[in-house]
């Protein structure tokens, strides 16, 4: 198998694709972007390097749980997201590191707006990805969401996948 060289643009396009899948509620397709050992985590606010045994995370998903999260949110009984909220994700200031390594590190800023029942909530922060090549595709090995907020007020919840 020939592995083609990955360019920064490939990585950026891949991130935009991820954001688009989430905004379009194609959550199973989103989960499929992850490697078999992929993880999705949201550490406590202000403690981006916390360990999950000592601190209470918001989300600490292994591959199986992120699949369950995606599938749950597509059910009518996931009441908080039924009917689905409308969302818009923007990724900015994308920094790609170790582009020629097995694991590519990406860091970017994000703003995610969510509106439901005429209330707009905004989530802001930083995303840290580990991205690997699987065949000729890119895949997410880890996605960490570092919220740059004081608290989850007034948002109240992270019912979305950020």
């Amino acid at each position: 198998m020939t592995v083609t060289a990955v360019t920064r643009q490939d990585v950026v396009d891949f991130l935009y694709k991820e954001a688009k899948l989430l905004d379009e509620w194609k959550l199973k397709e989103w989960a499929a972007l992850f490697t078999d050992d992929g993880t999705y985590t949201v550490p406590p606010i202000g403690e981006p390097d916390a360990t999950a045994t000592e601190s209470l995370f918001y989300v600490h998903d292994n591959r199986q749980r992120l699949q369950e999260r995606a599938e749950r949110l597509l059910k009518k009984e996931a009441h908080v997201e039924y009917p689905h909220s409308t969302t818009l994700r923007n990724y900015h200031n994308i920094l790609v590191d170790n582009i020629n390594s097995e694991v590519i590190n990406v860091e970017c800023n994000f703003t995610t707006h969510r509106t439901k029942r005429e209330v707009v909530d905004m989530f802001i922060g930083k995303l840290e990805y580990e991205i690997v090549q699987q065949g000729n595709e890119l895949a997410i090995k880890s996605k960490k969401v570092i919220l740059h907020l004081d608290s989850l007020r007034p948002q109240g919840k992270i019912s979305l996948i950020l």
């Binding site: 000592e54 989300v59 369950e68």
Partner: protein, 428 residues
């Protein structure tokens, strides 16, 4: 003025709550005066400030407090306001310090609140602060029970011990899981719900909503454990007096101390069997069974919930307006818990609980939909909280609504006394 807020009809087996209590500003003002200014309110857990000098800012009952482990070893709750001109003295959320300094005019205070100094001393008399009025003021009443620390803004309040009363037995069952005590994990979850605070008090001891609201969670439980043929949530609802209540029941999720579930390893299974044996040695068969295999959702009136379920959480909440509350959610776990056990516990927690869990956001939504539809209160006036009254209150099931009625009966008692006092004053 007098208002009927609750209709409690034992003969008809009907219990109604007037919906104005969720939307009326005058009611909120009365709740602040009669409930939040007079009841014992949870401020935090002693393990949050284990060392001398440790402090954490806390909002309790609408106040800005500084929860501090002072140099003399005492735990204090200082009002975080400068006695000089009022500015917030401590601006860091937490830390360790021997002193606090207000940046406005640089008055400084030792961590027991005593005024230590200020610039321009020659402008003040020599006996300035001889009466201590220039010290940071502390909440006079601060008491704790098994690590849970409470404050009361009413100097004449009954003791915390007396206030908790029958609820102590259930706090004991939670704390007795661990021989070394419980500790609060880092990362207290500060969130909010756009709904009246009493809806969360109700929701936290409401097992009736479990299946319909949290079906997606139980679907996942069933996929993880093929042994679960149908979801059983069975047990008792108990009125603990003073507005406190509990539901104690069995449920199909794993409990870190100590009910194993198939998503956990065989190692954990063996460990949990050992833990159960240890509990039997310490407490006997029956109590060990209650501690390990029964779940407890406890409401401590008015605004503390301790849930000992798939993990242990404490949450407290406070209304900033009738339709909005601020919530603080804590995770508690045995001190010195093994890493693998702790991870299993925390994964269990996050699967259900918290703003990113598979269940809590749906509760949040249910509460917000109640609040949204209370716009119809003028025409549709009463909530029904009657479930289980037909059985007699002493026979209530965990899926009945006795727990909520216990809360509301105390609530109504306090508010009616307040209305009556006003009437007497008006007649004088």
């Amino acid at each position: 003025m007098s208002r009927q807020l609750v209709k409690d009809n034992m003969e008809k087996h009907e219990f109604l709550v007037h919906r104005s209590v969720f939307s009326d500003r005058e009611i909120l003002a009365r709740e602040r005066a009669e409930i939040f200014n007079k009841c014992w309110l949870f401020i935090g857990h002693e393990t949050e400030i284990p060392n001398v000098g440790d402090y954490k800012r806390k909002k309790v009952g609408g106040r800005n407090l500084l929860f501090v482990h002072s140099q003399d070893g005492e735990i204090r709750a200082l009002y975080n306001t400068c006695p000089h001109r009022g500015a917030l003295v401590c601006r860091e959320n937490e830390g360790n310090s021997r002193a606090f300094r207000c940046f406005y005019h640089a008055w400084s205070f030792t961590n027991d609140g005593k005024l230590a100094g200020m610039p321009g001393k020659d402008g003040f008399p020599e006996d300035f602060n001889a009466d201590g009025t220039k010290d940071m003021k502390a909440v006079n009443r601060l008491e704790s029970y098994r690590g849970f620390v409470f404050v009361n803004f009413d100097d004449n309040a009954i003791s915390l011990d007396e206030y908790l009363g029958n609820a102590k037995e259930y706090i004991d069952l939670v704390v007795d899981q661990s021989e070394s005590g419980l500790e609060v994990l880092g990362g207290v979850q500060q969130y909010s719900v756009r709904a009246n605070w009493k809806l969360l008090a109700e929701n936290s001891v409401d097992l009736y909503h479990g299946m319909p609201t949290h079906k997606t969670y139980f679907d996942i439980k069933q996929s993880q454990d093929p042994g679960i043929k149908r979801i059983q949530l069975e047990g008792r609802g108990i009125d603990l007096g003073n507005g406190h209540a509990v539901m104690e029941y069995v449920a199909p999720w794993g409990r870190p101390v100590a009910q194993w579930t198939p998503i956990w390893s065989e190692d954990l299974k063996r460990d949990m069997e050992k833990m159960k044996e240890k509990l039997k040695e310490r407490f006997g068969e029956e109590r060990a069974d209650r501690i390990a295999n029964y779940n407890r959702n406890i409401i401590i009136f008015p605004n503390l919930v301790i849930n000992d379920i798939m993990a242990v959480t404490a949450r407290t909440f406070y209304p900033t307006s009738p339709g909005y509350m601020e919530v603080s959610g804590y995770a508690l776990a045995p001190i010195g818990e093994d890493k693998e056990h702790r991870m299993a516990r925390n994964n269990n927690f996050l699967e259900f609980l918290g703003p990113g869990g598979f269940a809590t956001p749906d509760d949040n939504e249910a509460l917000e939909l109640c609040q949204e539809a209370y716009t119809n209160n003028t025409e549709v006036e009463w909530n029904d909280i009657s479930k289980g009254m037909v059985r007699g209150e002493e026979n209530a099931l965990a899926t009945d609504e006795l727990q909520m009625r216990s809360f509301w009966r105390q609530y109504n008692k306090i508010l009616q006394e307040s209305f009556n006092r006003e009437k007497e004053v008006a007649h004088q």
